[in-house]
């Protein structure tokens, strides 16, 4: 059974691109449009990995990471941030919140897949 990845991004275009890249690498992909929708989906699901954008309405990526790390069952789940942001301050904030890694858009599908494999295995 393929491992499941939750892709969280408020851009449908970006989610479609992520889905195409990750399904072609053999992963099952679920989608959420922001941090709040991700938390709702995660109430009944347990993916192997979450990939999240930072700038999103309702609940941003920082908030999502903090909420997940506060829950015992998601304490060790890898979380990759995928964002247009590249400032060291925001990167440090994500790391401190509990992110596993940081990827700058526009992403290279091969680099993304390598990073996904590294954090999931």
């Amino acid at each position: 059974m393929p491992k499941r990845i939750l892709a969280v991004d408020d851009s449908l275009s970006m989610r479609m691109l992520l889905r195409a890249s990750l399904t072609s690498a053999g992963y099952d992909v679920a989608e959420a449009e922001d941090g709040r929708a991700a938390l709702e989906w995660l109430e009944n699901n347990e993916p192997t990995l979450v990939i999240t954008d930072i700038n999103m309405p309702r609940l941003d990526g920082f908030g999502l990471i903090a909420e997940l790390r506060a829950q015992e069952r998601f304490r060790d789940m890898p979380i990759l941030v995928l964002t247009t942001e590249s400032s060291p301050e925001k990167k440090a904030r994500a790391r401190d919140a509990g992110a596993t890694g940081w990827i700058v858009k526009p992403f290279d599908p091969e680099k993304l897949t390598v990073a996904v494999r590294r954090v999931m295995h």
Partner: protein, 184 residues
Amino acid sequence: MLMAPITAAPRQQRHNVLQGEFEVSSDPHLVLTTVLGSCIACCLFDPVAGLGGMNHFLLPTPPEHVRSEPSEEARRYGLYAMEMLVNGMLKRGATRSTMRAHLYGGANLHSGMRAIGSENAEFARRFLRDDGISLARADTGGTLARRLDLQPASGRVRCREVAQAFPQLQRPALPPTSGDVELF
């Protein structure tokens, strides 16, 4: 509204948005301007937040490349250009539901070549449709370059075709930080 023409204003500052760039502002004295050939400029305006922005991009498709649609790299580049502009608006208080978009450019300047301009315009339309941003006006296609002015604080726009001063067709490159991965 985005439809009203720009009138000359005192103390006006003009900022040229070059290919690969974007700008978001609520400065009432600023006019964003650019010249478009095959490139696309997306103008966004949010009347509730009182700000607007413009980007300027060309999907990176080599001329010799014969494809029926843009490559994956081109889509990634286009997504990046659009997302930077949309995020720039969202960060300053705009929302997707109140934003209105205009698209300009996408001319097919060179007969006998692929319709690069049309491909760029179609990409931008699809992005706006998928991302739930209302397209209020599109002036794309044709064979002439366009000069575009946007007053971001009011959303006023002026677009006129120009027979000369064609912008050079540049090969866009992905930004140097693209795809950088750092595992903590």
